[in-house]
């Protein structure tokens, strides 16, 4: 997030797009409700009529994968009416002309044709967002899990810069991160192209710095992304794999292909707190410690680094993650000799400028938000205050590109995927919880009443759902939450694995798969 969670409650306009906030980020939703009680306007754009939609001043239902067209349409209206922030554009940004040229074509009418949202609603969205003193954007995987994921995010950045809604309190472009520590994992270089703190692996001075600290020769080439990994295994380029706290057999798109790749490995090790389907096919399973059984830090969605403290010992042979990594490293030939997480934190601070001032003695209470470059620095509440990381904010002119797969005669429905409120990801943890399991024991396919009756399905019936990648059987749930022609399914359940169906088509830059859009056929199953 560019801004912090608590700032949301002082925003004048909140634009939620591609985020089922009450369900997936309830404590962010808390601030949305507080802001609304204070008189803020709420705009919700989502292909599903989510819980938050009924609290919105304006709810719009865009067709799957049409976000760029929607945001370009809003920017067209803003420019046409002169609601943009000329001073901000002039002082803080560049490449504005390119944006203008592209956006000029996206009249509300053209945008409406693509998105299915009326030109009047697009105009109102633009007005609400641009005219409020402080507007903030909240988004989640509904924006990123597309072949145009990067384009979608850049479009939101365009919108915020166009109106000067970034680098100020209660504004910003705020991705809501899903896992408690996914921000921390990325910050620590859990990406194939960067060292901790997003320092590029192919920059000579950075590489030299890490080589010196770690006393080892390092590669100057980015590694493979997760989605590039499975084809690489099948091409024989990767022979062994260590999977840590992931369950790709259920979580990654086109499950049958993933399973084929994992089984082709010469060696697969899985580190997890439960025996996941991926762990079942591993050669070695290393039991890990849960959050209550380890010391360290988590970095949350607002870049806040917080201490966690061990309350109980890990059971049986389970060990803390850093111990497991150290032991593996020592056995494969690189000696590590850390004695505690604090020692590792000190190394992080010494090598990562944005974490430079973050040490355990400062992490009591509420923790610290990075960037926190030195010991005296109080941490950073919101980013880009007087300048962007690259200097001036760069506008991109972005054209709308349709999703990789659209419905046709053989696969006439749009399928989109996401979460339900009681389960998390592949259910590794939540389906092991008796109370959450009782709340929902099996998955279902959300179907619009008109579609259900056309197929001859009643609520609770079983249906066969097929895509070009495979087919699954699931019960259906009839609801107006999804539009006619669109079905929705969660990806938590191994027995009805939505990711058997999903399209592994990738965003060309981020390599994120298009979980949110594919084409399927739905039939009655008996």
């Amino acid at each position: 997030m560019t801004n912090s969670i608590d700032e949301i409650k002082y925003a004048d306009c909140i634009f939620v797009i591609g985020s089922n906030t009450t369900l997936a980020h309830p404590l962010v939703a808390t601030r949305i409700f507080q802001a609304r009680d204070n008189g803020a306007r709420l705009i919700v754009a989502d292909p599903r009529k989510i819980q938050l939609a009924s609290f919105a001043d304006l709810y719009v239902r865009q067709r799957l994968g049409t976000d760029v067209a929607l945001i370009n349409g809003m920017m067209h209206v803003i420019l046409k009416n002169g609601w943009h922030d000329e001073a901000f554009i002039g002082e803080r940004t560049e490449n504005f002309e390119e944006l203008k040229k592209v956006v000029e074509k996206y009249t509300p009418e053209k945008s409406s044709e693509v998105t299915g949202i009326s030109p009047e609603d697009i105009t109102r969205m633009a007005e609400y967002y641009a005219k409020a003193p402080r507007s903030t954007i909240l988004y989640a995987m509904g924006i990123t899990q597309h072949t145009t994921g990067v384009d979608n995010v850049k479009s939101l950045a365009n919108l915020s810069m166009l109106t000067g809604n970034v680098g100020k309190e209660s504004t910003g472009v705020n991705p809501l991160r899903g896992q408690n520590n996914v921000q921390g994992a990325c910050d620590m270089g859990g990406l194939p192209n960067v060292y901790p703190g997003y320092q590029a692996v192919n920059a000579v001075d950075i590489r030299t710095k890490f080589e010196k600290a770690w006393k080892v020769r390092l590669s100057d080439k980015p590694g493979l992304t997760l989605t590039d990994l499975f084809p690489a295994i099948l091409e024989g380029k990767v022979k062994a794999l260590v999977v840590m706290g992931e369950n790709p057999l259920v979580s990654d798109p086109d499950s049958h292909h993933v399973e084929k790749a994992l089984r082709a490995l010469e060696f697969l090790a899985v580190i997890d707190i439960f025996m996941t389907p991926t762990a079942e096919i591993a050669h070695v399973v290393l039991p890990a410690a849960s959050f209550a059984e380890k010391d360290g830090t988590f970095t949350n969605t607002e870049r806040r680094v917080q201490r966690i403290r061990k309350a109980i010992d890990p059971p049986g042979e389970a060990r803390q993650d850093w111990v497991i990594i150290q032991e593996i490293s020592n056995r494969v030939g690189y000696q590590m000799n850390y004695s505690s997480p604090e020692e590792i934190q000190n190394e992080i601070a010494s090598l990562t400028p944005s974490y430079g001032g973050i040490t355990y003695d400062r992490l009591g209470g509420e923790g610290l938000c990075w960037p926190c470059p030195d010991k005296e620095h109080p941490g950073t509440k919101f980013l880009h205050k007087d300048r962007f990381a690259r200097g001036r904010g760069l506008f991109h002119g972005i054209e709308y590109i349709p999703p990789a797969e659209s419905p046709d005669d053989d696969y006439p429905f749009w399928l989109t995927t996401g979460r339900v409120f009681v389960h998390y990801h592949t259910g590794t943890m939540t389906r092991n919880s008796p109370s959450l399991d009782q709340e929902m024991r099996e998955g279902y396919l959300e179907v619009n009443p008109a579609d259900a009756s056309a197929i001859g399905l009643k609520d609770g019936d079983k249906a066969k759902i097929a895509s070009r990648r495979g087919e699954i059987i699931s019960r259906i749930f009839i609801t107006e939450r999804v539009d006619k022609g669109t079905v929705f399914m969660s990806f938590h359940f191994l027995e009805a694995r939505a990711n058997v169906l999903t399209n592994p088509a990738l965003d060309p830059i981020a390599k994120i798969p298009e979980y949110k859009v594919c084409a399927v056929r739905v039939e009655k199953w008996e």
């Binding site: 009450t22 369900l23 309830p26 404590l27 939703a29 808390t30 409700f33 507080q34 009680d37 819980q51 009924s54 609290f55 201490r307 403290r309 009591g364 209470g365 509420e366 339900v420 409120f421 009681v422 109370s435 009782q438 709340e439 929902m440």
Partner: protein
Amino acid sequence: MKETIIEKVKDLFEDSRIEAFLGLKEENGQIGPYLFTDPKDLEGFSLGDKEWPGDKRYPLSKILIALAQKYPENRFGILVRGCDERALNELFKWNQLNEEHVVMVGFPCPQELAEACECPKPYPESLVVGEKVKGIKSKKVEVILNMGMEGRLKYWTERFSRCIKCYGCRNVCPVCFCNECELANDDLIPSGEIPPENPIFHLVRAAHMAGRCIDCGLCEEACPVGIPLRTLYKKVADIVDSEFGYRPGYQKDQKSPFNILGERPED
């Protein structure tokens, strides 16, 4: 105030009246429940005031139920405000705790907190320190009643529709102790959806608060979506009071009207 309480607790340990004391402790910049088994640990003892009075309250009586089940022979001291004492009084009556094994160490709430809570009795009988603070009559119930029937329905429907079924209200409640919870009864309230079916979910809980809710307000504090549960249950308490003449937690010897089994019906 804190020092006096610490001295009192030390005395309880010294006189062997308790084996452990359940209170709050500040550690690493956080305040949380803590079971003191050694008087030496009392250095970090806290009354639960971090940024404003009483902003760190916990359902200590509920934690005590779990401890008492695990250590049935032991005697516990416990830090209480007015509401905590009322909760304990109810739990004694419902046989969830043995009064003989519990020693209350009471302190009054500051006027500021009493007003924020609209608490009619912001102090316990078991005061070991401080003065009895003046009780406050609720105005929030009145505000909602003045909305009129239609306005009230609209207001509550909007608030209930925010519910994400986190069960925070139930889980934090010091007088929620049923082994089987009707809120999780699939026949009564269909599972698997948010918001849960309304208004049934919240009215079932409100009905179960009748004769039980001791007006501590922890439910409302825990609610992540801002449902004014405390105001709802204050009204429930008013109805029970006017119909049965009973206010939960106030009298030790008077049983809840819902606690009394009547004559066995004839077959």
